[in-house]
Subunit: 146 residues, 12 copies
């Protein structure tokens, strides 16, 4: 699980948009869900595009998939997109808020075009749905489609 | 649960894009999940925009929320959007395929802008995630945000 | 008088945008005005684009003009536009809300380009002004201009 | 009532587009209608954007509303728009011709976005409908909506 | 053969654009041509997008190909396009008028992108050319190209 | 019949797009069809825009109509368009491939806007359909419409 | 002859763009040329859009044509355009500089679309050519074309 | 100092956007600041584009610089821009509100492209900052850069 | 003097747009005017872009300037533009019709951006004005500006 | 005070655009002004987007406001924008050069839309004006407006 | 090696953009390099689009690859592009100047999309690099990638 | 030599697009070529935009030129562009793949506009051509052009 820029402030910022759950609460819930599903989950957050690229590169060979909330970099980072394509891991993109109800520039995602799928708008629940989706995808892989 | 146009052909058409599950298989799985979660689920499919509008209108007062795969009408129907806003029910939008990997005209959704959130790209699994999302939303309502 | 999709919910939905008058109240007032002006008025509502096309076609030969609030189809229906041009009846387009103060996609009307004129923003009063306009137009026809 | 640029030539110019009624005939009819409705009507015409701004500013405190045909300035004048917003009076915008059937640049109105509503396409009749609309709006004010 | 919205008025409407042949005359001529070519031809017309989708779905398994004049839906219906792709039948698109000489919005066809080819501008003759094209395509199938 | 640039390579190039028929085979078939229909057919090919303009100019007064596959010049040549308008002959535009399934720049035709009609997507068959269309148009001329 | 805004500063401003001739020198030369051609020439300059509209209106009935350098209003004034159309006088548009070599916003002229023609780029000489053009046009009127 | 259209209503209009200071209060404060800085300050307001052009022209030779809040004309007046370039005086553009937080059409300034710089968003304080900027610029002129 | 494509048909084609003067009549009048002005004039016409480029190249060193009506190539030929810039001769662009009253694609000229100036809309008279302009420019050269 | 990328080279680079003052000279002057105004000023520069995000996050709770010259990230960084919104501190955006006189891509600022205001074009003086603006804003806060 | 329009003037024209080397000097250096590399090089220049198409067609079967500087036709010729695709030879595109530093219309290349690669901005050196690239490509062919 | 983001994965990722050579193989070959040409070559790779900016800044004064493959940052980084302009070193931009054959967003390069030139599409060979180009440029500097 990779958290993009400014998500470390979660729960303390713009709670009307992003909800009151802090990042550590979300992470704790995700880990519990991962445990329940019997999968190993590694969680990291960074405000730096380059660091997020580094981490996706390092995930190759160690993890089966990446769950990512690229936050602001969703809309501006081709480097993240290229990293995803390079490592060849399945990626699921999640967002706390419904990005289609916000500023026009948030409607375009460089990541969605190379991800398995996208989940947005359900607050902290977007993360658990995303984890379920990524687990389902990895397990179904032999028969999964485009 | 409302299925939009051409979804009745599911599993028999373009299986490389939409998977091999038929609509009735998907519906059966959804009903099982609904039952397990203790919620009542009504499922309908229509190829007609007007009929889908009628059904959303009729859902008001009878259901707590709408799970919808508007298919082609996602991108062309302001009437569906207006119906959703009119009835004031929470709506979750799901898609089998990742609409951001397809033709440019599939990137814009009139529905997403008035829905709680959107889930796409996980095949039949998009539906079960959507059902979980809608149930979670309705139960969390007193404390949910935009 | 033709009412487009979702107008059957009038007065019960988004009252801050559309006002509290129900469709039947509006229809009753319109009929009174028609009676006062000595004209016969037939009123229908439909959520279906095809049905609205059918009704415009049937109006030819029976009525002198069409007063229409095409609602969502204003912005998406070339079929309605073609029907209007086909039957050759004068058409007046009305809207309850001021469509120029709302979402960008509501600014374009396929209908206005083939109608006599357009009236919007006056709530239920848009209808009575529209009826007066259509009556005036039909009576003035021998000397009316483009 | 404010008439914008070139309307002083009415009835003598492009009669196929604007009809044969002269401005003074239109004004006379409007005054009669105002009298019949029991309202005081002041009518002015100007070819100058600045002068029209002045007059809107002066209307504040003296009149209850403004009926305006901004003509060419409809499409180019942000100053007129700002004046309308500044004085806070309800404004109804009217046009003789159907502006959606003419050049593309006539489709955008800076005024409509800050007016109560817009009426266009009915020739001199647009004015009387506009007067009725403005009177109705002012009288209904306690209960009027956006 | 499927006729789209408003084509039932053919010959009685806008004869300067669409010619004076009525739909039944066109259908009769087409049937004669079909007979001469030794093929079975079924002809239907509908003003409803949903109904046209239904009919394309039903054509699968019964017919070898679809000849369609989608009329107004050419430019607005992704549902029709999806139906065509779903059933996998070869489709030939025809238009009476030359759509490239009319309003700008008539230049884009959602159907042409998934059809074998397009024929437009020859009046009733577009239909017979289309029928010849579709027959030729089906017979040549083993050796036909993209 | 005028063939535009690169059509002389037909049958030897990109056979998956344009089919395996060579230009001389197509020309031979067209001449046979012309003979059968009792019309005189002159066929020329050129890679030069100026030469194609010259030939259209020379067709005036000698031929009743022009059948043209402008190939690449379809999308870039206003000179060809002007030539067609200048000579006043009816022109039918044909394409081997379905230009609406290819690169975006192939969707606009400067020629279609001044031609009788357009036929595309049927391979070599586009030519014979085009010849039938042009013959039908010339013979029907006294009663043909826009 | 009407000079638009800022032309009163001619010869004293931006001489690298507009040349060193002052407006009075240009006017003197124009009057001489008019005299030589035997025509009466009235010259006025204004920085105000409304005033220029007034003057065009007043020219109707007194002059046979208008020679205008609308300067900045070329690109922003629909009111000037409407005035020209209203009075029905032939108008020739001139510019000192080549407006196609300057900022992008100077490429569009609301006036050119309703003028006889446009002359630009020849400095003070644009005016004398414009005067010759307007004289020629008025004298040739019985046989002039669009 | 030049104030553009509607600024005369300052403090009495839309106080949530523009603050409660009236124009005369702002002018008084500016004069004090000018006095303190030892510079002569002339202040004028006009609702007319032509008049503002006149005043900029008259400033040449009398003043060292112009401080301007062009208000609505910021976005529509090429005439003002040309006047600024013509007189060759340094110009500083100020706005009370942050124009980048308002309607899209307020984002483009014809003036900024020919001004020294722009200050916006600080309410009445924008004016005093602007005055300081213009004074600093004029005094630093021998060494100032683009 | 260079005439672009299709101008050889002048006077015989679209006389409502281009007038009834034939190219040889125009050329004869131009030669007379040249003689009267004491300048040598060479006139050529071509339908080929490459040939027009050749002729502009050859003009370098032999002529002082080029008068050109690039016709259709005005809007599509960067090669002509590059040739003009390469040879460094002053070029004046003329058009018979007012290109700003015609199709949108005729509004952009690749040539005007590198020419001295442009004259359009005066029929055959555009040519004589152009010749006067070019002569004036060459004679004034020592003192002419951009 | 935060300086964005490449500002560390100030005074040594492109001095015709940015002036000859080095960053340390600017910082020294700013500190003096801060001292004079009795405020504490912390200054940092970074070439990294992620680091600038970190610093804005850390400013929350320690400083009352942020003065920022985001340089290149002005136009590309949604992460910086989100950081500003997250911490909820008032931000003033400054630029040395007039960004409206440079490349088109420099006209859009993701930061201005969430800042109090913007100051640009006054070289090193932009910074001191910005500091005055931010101090004024913080002190006036109880009565400041949008 | 194919040189496009106006390159025959090289070294004599716009030397600040294209350098002082003449085309024959460049050709001589290229031939020397070809000889050194042991490859046969044929060099041709033409100002005509059709002739360049002819030459590409003739290269098929005789040469292993094409090195081309399409000059102005880079941006306007779909016919050249189609010729390249038709003959199936590898093509390397070169430009003397850096086309991304010039007019906006020079940024799009119809050729680059079907070439192996593009080299621009190095003056005459672009040609020798291009020759090396094409030689390398042909020799590496068995293992070369898209 | 600077390698942008994700290039460290070269040879292990998407080998159909980028070839099978690893970055260290490319670097080794480049160093050999540098040695052969007698120039010192320093090679660095980074996934971080800020770090690449730092390195370009540090190159000033130590190196004569920069050879760069900015990878994803080509299309999104104005900071890199500003760094290049700031240090004033000649820069050559190279790409392994032909960026004009890929996604639309890869067609625009912020770097090319400030580089000497661009080389793309030749796989690892792009690098050696780039090195030759940069060496040639530095050696030819006294006589090089824009």
């Amino acid at each position: 699980m990779l958290h993009g820029p400014n998500l470390n402030l979660l729960g303390t910022r713009e709670t009307s948009v992003y909800g009151t759950a802090t990042l550590s609460e979300i992470d704790r819930d995700l880990k519990r869900l991962a445990e329940k599903e019997g999968v190993k989950l590694m969680i990291q957050q960074s405000n730096s595009e380059g660091e997020l690229v580094d981490r996706i590169q390092k995930a190759a060979g160690r993890y089966h998939a990446v769950l990512i909330n690229p936050a602001a970099y969703t809309h501006t980072s081709i480097a993240l997109r290229d990293a995803i394509v390079s490592v060849g891991l399945p990626v699921v993109e999640v967002h706390l808020s419904n990005i289609y109800r916000r500023e026009a520039f948030r409607r375009h995602s460089y990541i969605a075009e190379v991800a398995i799928g996208q989940i947005c708008g359900f607050g902290a629940c977007s993360y658990s749905l995303g984890l379920l989706a990524v687990i389902h995808h990895v397990r179904a892989k032999p028969k999964n489609k485009r």
